[in-house]
Every structure is written in structure tokens, then in C-alpha cells.
């Protein structure tokens, strides 16, 4: 439990399995990176293109940012792996407090 060593008793077999698993994981990471670059380019193009009004562009690029951050958190920072229950709780607690703060500063406060 504490070191999560593979259990087949044959280190060679486990090494092969782990090498494959880690190569597969790496492929996901590459796909994640390609997607993140793609979303970034779409966001910059949406802003650079004159034809869209701000009412469309702003929510659209915010949505792209949220999608990109979810990829970063769950793949690059491994939150999709098991054993991340506490990190998930910590992070989303921070997000809730942060979101309320932003909501307050953009709606209740004005001058």
C-alpha cells in the first residue's frame, strides 16, 4: 500500500508493463499539449478577427481558457490519476472562494 510496488513478483515483467504505461501516458500528454496550443490559437484568432463583437468574443475566450486549464490540471498535473481526492478538494475550495471574490468585485463594487 505504502509504496505501490507491482505485485507479479517478476521485476522484469513489471518494468515492461510500466514502460508501456508510461509511454501511453506520454501520448496523452502530447495530445493535451496539441489541444492546448490549438485552443490558444483559436482564442487569439477570435480576438484578432474584426468580425466578432465583444459580446461573443469575451465569453468564448473565457470558455476556451477554462477548457485549457482543465486539461492542464487533469493531464499535466495528473489530477486524473487516483489518489488525488484531497488535491481536488483543496483546489476546488480555492476556486469557489476565488470565484465569489471575482463575482463580488465585478458586480457589487463600482465607482
Amino acid at each position: 500500500m505504502s509504496n505501490q510496488q507491482p505485485s507479479s513478483g517478476n521485476p522484469r515483467v513489471d518494468v515492461e508493463y510500466r514502460r508501456r504505461k508510461s509511454a501511453e501516458e506520454m501520448r496523452y500528454q502530447i495530445v493535451t499539449f496539441a489541444l492546448m496550443i490549438f485552443l490558444t490559437i483559436v482564442a487569439f484568432v477570435a480576438v484578432g478577427y474584426e468580425g466578432f463583437s465583444g459580446w461573443f468574443t469575451v465569453p468564448f475566450i473565457l470558455l476556451l481558457a477554462v477548457i485549457q486549464v482543465i486539461f492542464q490540471l487533469y493531464y499535466f498535473m495528473h489530477m486524473s490519476h487516483k489518489g488525488h481526492e484531497a488535491p481536488t478538494l483543496f483546489l476546488y475550495s480555492g476556486v469557489v472562494v476565488g470565484a465569489v471574490t471575482i463575482l463580488a468585485f465585478t458586480t457589487i463594487i463600482w465607482w
Binding site: 505501490q4 518494468v15 499535466f76 480555492g94 468585485f105
Partner: protein
């Protein structure tokens, strides 16, 4: 499993970042810290959004006057790519390949340093071309606090990763330092997470108007 134990590729645990009690505590504690960092940056974003374009006179430059696509895009690409190179570094850490991990951490540091250099140029440019300074307007204060705080995180992350690389250069990988490298890479990714919102909320929304 002892922290100072010598490992080979075959005996290296599958999750070295969580293999010892100290590593588990680090992992948990660091995520708790990232939750707090989320709140810190959210309050800075909130302040920026409340004070955006709040300037003392009509001559003062606004967000749509100062931000440009090429600069923001280049900075974003540098930081996004550095996030990928640190993923590569952790891939090699898990495969017990110390040299390759160091190499990819080196690329991460170079990209991070390039980002930081670009940001310093950017601030210099705003101050000298537009008179947009920390004290020239509430907009300026909020902008430099938010983006500067992020830049300071990048600078700290660079020093952190460089220190780890230098201090462990002769030691190789073991369960004492693997969690340290892992946590530093988490920090680096988090800096990138914050930047995604900065380029969207500050730069892109600033250009939209």
C-alpha cells in the same frame, strides 16, 4: 522503503513522488498551498477587473491601446511549451533516467527565462512608450500587481528548479529528491494555469475593449 536507498531502473517504484511518508506529506501540503495560491490570484484578478481602464484623465492609455497580439502570443507559447518540457522531465523521472530529466528541466528553465526576459521588456515598453506605470493610474497599479505577481512566481520557480538541479547534480535520483522534483514541476504547471487566465482576461479581453 528508505529515502536514501540506492535504486535501479527495475527497483524504482511506480510512484516515486508518493513512495515515502515525507513524499506523501509534501504532495498533500503542496496541493493545499496551490489551493491558497488559487485564492491569492483570484483576488488579484478581481482587483484588476474592478480597476481595469480606471484612469485619472482622458489622455491616459487604456488596455486596448497598450496590449498587442504578437507580444502576448509569444509569451504564451513560451510558457505553454515550458509546461510540456517539464512534463517530459517528470516522464524521465518516473523512468529513473536522471540525465534526461535534468536535460528537460534545463529546457524548462531556458523557456521560463525567455518568458521572464520578454515580460521585463514588455513592462519597460509600457512605461516608456505609454507612460503606463504602477503609480500612473489605478489601472496601472492593478495591472502591474497581477502580472508582476505572476512574473515573480516565474522567477521563484526558475530559482527553485535551478537550485534542485544543481544541488542534486551529483546525487542522482532517489526517493529523497524525486518528490522535490515532482512538487517543483507541479508549481511550474500551476504558473502556467495562472498564465492561461492572464492572457485571456488581461491581454485578450483588454484588446477586445
Amino acid at each position: 522503503m528508505q529515502a536514501e536507498e540506492k535504486f535501479t531502473y527495475e527497483t524504482w517504484p511506480a510512484e516515486p513522488e508518493k513512495a515515502t511518508l515525507e513524499a506523501k506529506n509534501k504532495f498533500l501540503g503542496f496541493w493545499f498551498f496551490l489551493g491558497g495560491e488559487t485564492v491569492l490570484f483570484a483576488t488579484l484578478f478581481a482587483t484588476y477587473l474592478a480597476l481595469k481602464d480606471k484612469v485619472p484623465s482622458a489622455e491616459h492609455a487604456l488596455a486596448k491601446d497598450i496590449f498587442e497580439i504578437p507580444l502576448a502570443f509569444t509569451a504564451t507559447m513560451l510558457l505553454l511549451t515550458s509546461s510540456l518540457t517539464s512534463v517530459y522531465a517528470m516522464y524521465h523521472m518516473k523512468n529513473f533516467n536522471f540525465k534526461k530529466m535534468q536535460l528537460w528541466l534545463g529546457f524548462t528553465v531556458l523557456l521560463g527565462a525567455a518568458f521572464l526576459g520578454l515580460e521585463i521588456y514588455e513592462f519597460y515598453h509600457y512605461v516608456h512608450t505609454f507612460g503606463h506605470t504602477f503609480t500612473s493610474s489605478a489601472f496601472g497599479s492593478a495591472f502591474y500587481t497581477l502580472v508582476g505577481f505572476h512574473g515573480a512566481h516565474v522567477a521563484f520557480g526558475l530559482l527553485w528548479i535551478i537550485t534542485l538541479m544543481v544541488r542534486n547534480s551529483k546525487r542522482g535520483l532517489n526517493l529523497y529528491n524525486a518528490p522535490k522534483f515532482y512538487v517543483a514541476s507541479l508549481y511550474w504547471h500551476f504558473i502556467d494555469v495562472v498564465w492561461v487566465f492572464i492572457f485571456t482576461v488581461v491581454y485578450l479581453m483588454g484588446m477586445v475593449g
